[in-house]
Amino acid sequence: MSIKIEHLNYVYSEGTAFEKHALRDVNLELPDGQFIGVIGHTGSGKSTLIQHLNGLLKGTSGAVYYNGRNIYEEGYNKKELRSKVGLVFQYPEYQLFEVDVFSDVCYGPKNLGLPADVTEARAREALRLVGLKEKHWKKSPFELSGGQKRRAAIAGILAMEPDVLVLDEPTAGLDPKGRDDILDQIQRLHDERHITVILVSHSMEDIARYVERIIVMNRGQVMFDDTPREVFDHYRELEQIGLAAPQVTYLMHDLAARGWQADVDATTVEEAAASILKCLGR
């Protein structure tokens, strides 16, 4: 049970003056149950990559396997694939369209052809998972706050009961508390349901805090693919491609340069604080 990408290439507007090689020979294996972060500057190919995971884009060459089967095979059931690999786009709340939140969340499972009672049970479960209180369920999506709308949109994907949840910048534009709430809930979902989570983010601090594996995209290629500590160890190279390490990593390097025995691979506030206390003999 996994997603496997082999020699995937994708070229936009092939054969025209606007031809752009967006993915170049990408090879990745995404086993079940991982919490993976994808980083890369604008135009690095990360959004193009995730749209291949559920077959929204078809590679110019190469293959994508879902649970061992090539999704480009003739007769492959793309509809089922899309219910198994749920994709939450940037600003997903713009896609809410039903008269109330509950109906909007029901839309996906209803279209899978599930009976009404199953659909509704799934919608209730999904809304509970994203932490949206029942008093909001019959409201128009327009009556919700930004963070609540975002959660309603994510619930719409969860109601499909995907095995893989892909989120493209799920916290853009949210206030700090809203950002932490959503990411904590995604973490809980990952822990409870053991689903694979793929998080695309511009925040190195968020990535360092939540994921176990980071894929760094640059010019359509996978540049690094490793644990956060290993990836952020290459912070100079990350800076060259418009990224950075989490800010605490810089503090640890600064202290190390001043002769401290600081843990230069620390990527979170907790790790940094622990290392500093140790250095000071506390």
Binding site: T42, G173, H202, R258, L277, L280
Partner: protein
């Protein structure tokens, strides 16, 4: 002299039900006194729905107070005859760069404002050149905006405002949709406009790191100004900010964690360099 002066500024709007009857009244801004000095860099923080964007829209008279007053450069925003002067004094930049660019070529987009003021074309091009140079986008003047990165587009949007030679620029989450590089570009551009051109800046943001060099920070909650002070003063209140759905810079957070464990660090550390210096002092004392 205060370039922006608000007194008991309130803004109410009515929520309508499906038949169009008033259902409830919402007080988005509630009795705000606001003073911004000419040349200041002021940051406004607040959670989603705290009223900060509603307040910002008052500064160039997109909205006018339902109670209280707001004067921009001495002009009352409720006076419709002065609205164009007010909008020339205070320009706005919004979150989404794609919604703000209308020209098909960068320099034409930047020239749109001055052209609408009826300026002779020679003067327009002079302003376009000045503005694009001020935001570091002069070499892109002949490019199509849709081929630019998010940060570059935002800088073009800022140039479009600068071309109107405003005394004050209000930026409402200009970096929310940008990657780390784009964020840095935009913040640096805004800081330079403030320092070199002495443009008054009001920056609304959810990124605490963008705020640490501001002259003054204003925190809004439920339509009211609940905290104001220097970044150092504001970020000394970690728990209060968290309770208001906000955050502190990462350096402040590390320092706060260390304080909780008993390290005698001062409050209000804002940058990693400052924290490293303070830690070094502590180590020195230990000898």
């Amino acid at each position: 002299m205060s370039i922006i002066r608000g007194r008991k500024l309130s803004y109410e709007y009515q929520r309508l039900d499906e038949e169009g009857n008033p259902e409830s009244t919402i007080r988005a801004v509630d009795g705000v006194d606001l003073d911004v000095q000419e040349g200041d860099f002021v940051a406004i923080l607040g959670h989603n729905g705290s009223g900060k964007s509603t307040l910002a829209k008052h500064i160039n008279a997109i909205l006018v107070p339902t109670e209280g007053t707001l004067y921009v450069d001495g002009k009352d925003t409720r006076d419709e005859s002065q609205i164009w002067e007010i909008r020339q004094t205070a320009g706005m930049v919004f979150q989404n760069p794609d919604n703000q660019i209308i020209g098909t070529i960068v320099d034409e987009d930047v020239g749109f404002g001055p052209e609408n003021m009826g300026m002779p074309s020679e003067a327009i091009w002079k302003r376009v050149e000045e503005s694009l140079k001020a935001v570091g986008m002069w070499e892109y003047r002949a490019h199509s905006p849709n081929k630019l990165s998010g940060g570059q587009k935002q800088r073009v949007a800022i140039a479009g405002v600068v071309a109107m030679r405003p005394k004050c620029i209000v930026l409402d989450e200009p970096t929310a949709m940008l990657d780390p590089n784009g964020r840095k570009e935009v913040v640096r551009t805004v800081q330079e406009l403030n320092r070199k051109e002495h443009v008054t800046v009001l920056l609304i943001t959810h990124y605490m790191e963008e705020v640490i060099e501001a002259d003054k920070v204003i925190v809004m909650d439920q339509g009211k100004v609940v905290m104001q002070g220097t970044p150092k003063e504001i970020f000394s209140h970690v728990e209060e900010l968290k309770a208001r759905r906000l955050d502190v810079p990462q350096a402040t957070l590390v320092a706060y964690e260390l304080q909780k464990k008993g390290l005698p660090l001062p409050d209000g550390i804002l940058s990693m360099a400052e924290l490293a210096d303070e830690l070094e002092k502590l180590r020195g004392q230990r000898g």
